[in-house]
């Protein structure tokens, strides 16, 4: 136990980096994911194809391959950025495919009659999307988005494999000095569990607030 207290600054720093990666990447993934969904439901065939290609590509590539490509490959063609920024961009781009897929299935889960009714009373495409479809779609999407957020927290650990010292790597480094794996790794595991529990709590709250009783 005292190992954790002795190395609290390093571990805390690691946790802060994990939090930064999580928050920034989730925001980026949410924005990009909305764009991808918009592309995938648009009436223009080329745009739909672009959206589908995006989701297909990034759901089928391992995140670690993307990270390695961005950290060691892209500098070769003169694309270079801060390591933390690079990791955030890569994780955002990767998770946006999953967010896009979740949002799209949310839109599809709204029953067809709702869309037809909205059109029948004379709402335009944008109006029916904004006032009828999206408010209902968002409710069904809260839980999947929460799961994506938890998966994203787990995935930030992979940034550790390409030189970013986040919580998992900080724990590994402390263990290399102290050689007391059990308290150190269990401590890190508990920190991750708490983060995930927090996400679960927030999504539970959100879902209850958004629910409509008919």
């Amino acid at each position: 136990m005292s190992v954790l207290l002795d190395h609290l600054p390093e571990l805390w720093q690691g946790l802060v980096v994990t939090l930064q990666l999580t928050a920034a990447s989730f925001l980026g993934a949410a924005v990009l994911g909305v764009v991808v969904t918009a592309l995938r439901v648009s009436p223009v065939r080329v745009l739909r194809a672009i959206g589908t290609a995006y989701v297909e590509t990034f759901q089928n590539l391992p995140l670690l391959v993307l990270l390695v490509l961005a950290f060691f490959g892209l500098p070769e063609i003169g694309v270079k950025a801060e390591p933390l920024t690079t990791a955030i961009v890569v994780i955002s781009v990767y998770e946006a495919a999953y967010v896009g897929e979740a949002l799209r299935s949310g839109v599809n889960s709204v029953s067809k009659g709702q869309g037809e009714a909205a059109r029948a009373i004379g709402l335009t495409f944008t109006q029916s999307l904004r006032h009828v479809i999206l408010p209902q779609a968002l409710r069904t999407v809260v839980q999947p988005l929460g799961n994506i957020a938890i998966a994203l927290i787990m995935n930030t650990a992979l940034a550790g494999a390409v030189s970013i010292v986040e919580l998992t790597t900080a724990a590994k480094n402390v263990n290399l000095v102290e050689a007391q794996p059990i308290p150190i790794f269990v401590g890190a595991g508990i920190a991750y569990a708490l983060l995930a529990a927090l996400v679960g709590l927030v999504t539970g709250r959100l879902e209850r607030r958004l629910v409509i009783l008919r």
């Binding site: 009436p43 590539l61 670690l64 787990m154």
Partner: protein, 275 residues
């Protein structure tokens, strides 16, 4: 849904769609041109930097890596499915001392990064005298983390079988276990097949953690290769393409299975309605 929300396009809308098509195509082309210029400006487009990837020894090396990836994926998938099935049955057991630990395992492993499990196997176990062979240093953490995911898939599948099936089994005098084995599981297995295939894609992606373990799967092999020939971006792009082809085929298989199942269900629904 997307077809309901707009009418058959009139002349104005058709013009707008044409403009968007042109703009979208232009954006993709511009991106490609930018990438090619960036490659060319840094001399990464020279023929001798790509030539090696058209030779057989190179592909033999990469395919050996892919073989190790497949081996790790298949072994971990088989083990984690078996373990996942045990966990799923445990979670559905009516004995609390079985249900509790199984649920606990699934919930805990879901919120621990696979990389942390890898580090536990790499650094914690050897200290307590358990130094696994290299292959198992990758396969064990993958099995542990994916078993939880498979357990949830199996549990959902078992719960999706109508309750009447279990009741009928018990009514004709089968024991609980035989009802599960002979009646519920065969039906559940068919329903979860697409989810199992897509979870296997996830597992195959996770084998890239061999990069950390130094097990010679595809990504680690490519790291060794890139350090040797200095063609970093070329190697990683080729390897990404290999992953893409393999995983896309698997994802396609999952979608086909799902579509076939949906078709089968409506068909049997119709025939039973006729009867």
């Amino acid at each position: 849904m997307s077809t309901v929300l707009f009418d058959e396009p009139g002349p104005k809308a058709r013009r707008r769609i044409r403009v968007a098509t042109v703009l979208g195509t232009l954006a993709v082309v511009a991106l490609a041109v930018l990438a090619v210029r960036q490659f060319a400006a840094n001399g990464q487009l020279d023929a001798d930097r790509w030539q090696p990837y058209a030779t057989w020894p190179m592909w033999r090396y990469l395919l050996t890596g892919l073989g190790s990836t497949a081996l790790a994926a298949v072994v971990s998938a088989a083990l984690s499915m078996a373990f996942g099935l045990v966990l799923a049955l445990g979670r559905l057991s009516h004995r609390r001392w079985v249900r509790g630990p199984a649920a606990c395992y699934v919930e805990v492993v879901r919120v621990i990064p696979a990389l942390l499990l890898v580090y536990v196997v790499l650094f914690a176990l050897p200290r307590y005298g358990l130094d696994l062979p290299l292959f198992w240093k990758l396969a064990v953490p993958l099995t542990l983390s994916n078993a939880a995911a498979f357990a949830e898939i199996f549990r959902a599948g078992i719960l999706s079988v109508e309750r009447g099936q279990t009741e009928a089994g018990l009514a004709i005098g089968l024991t609980r276990w035989r009802t599960m084995r002979l009646i519920v599981l065969p039906q559940a297995a068919r329903r979860v097949l697409p989810s199992i295939v897509s979870q296997s894609v996830g597992l195959l992606k996770d084998t890239s953690l061999g990069y950390v373990v130094s097990y010679g799967e595809l990504l680690f092999s490519s790291k060794v290769l890139a350090n040797y020939n200095g063609l970093l971006i070329q190697t990683y792009i080729v390897v990404a393409a290999v992953y893409l082809v393999v995983n896309m085929s698997l994802s396609k298989l999952a979608r086909t299975l799902e579509a076939r199942q949906r078709a089968g269900r409506t068909l049997s629904g119709r025939s039973s309605a006729r009867a």
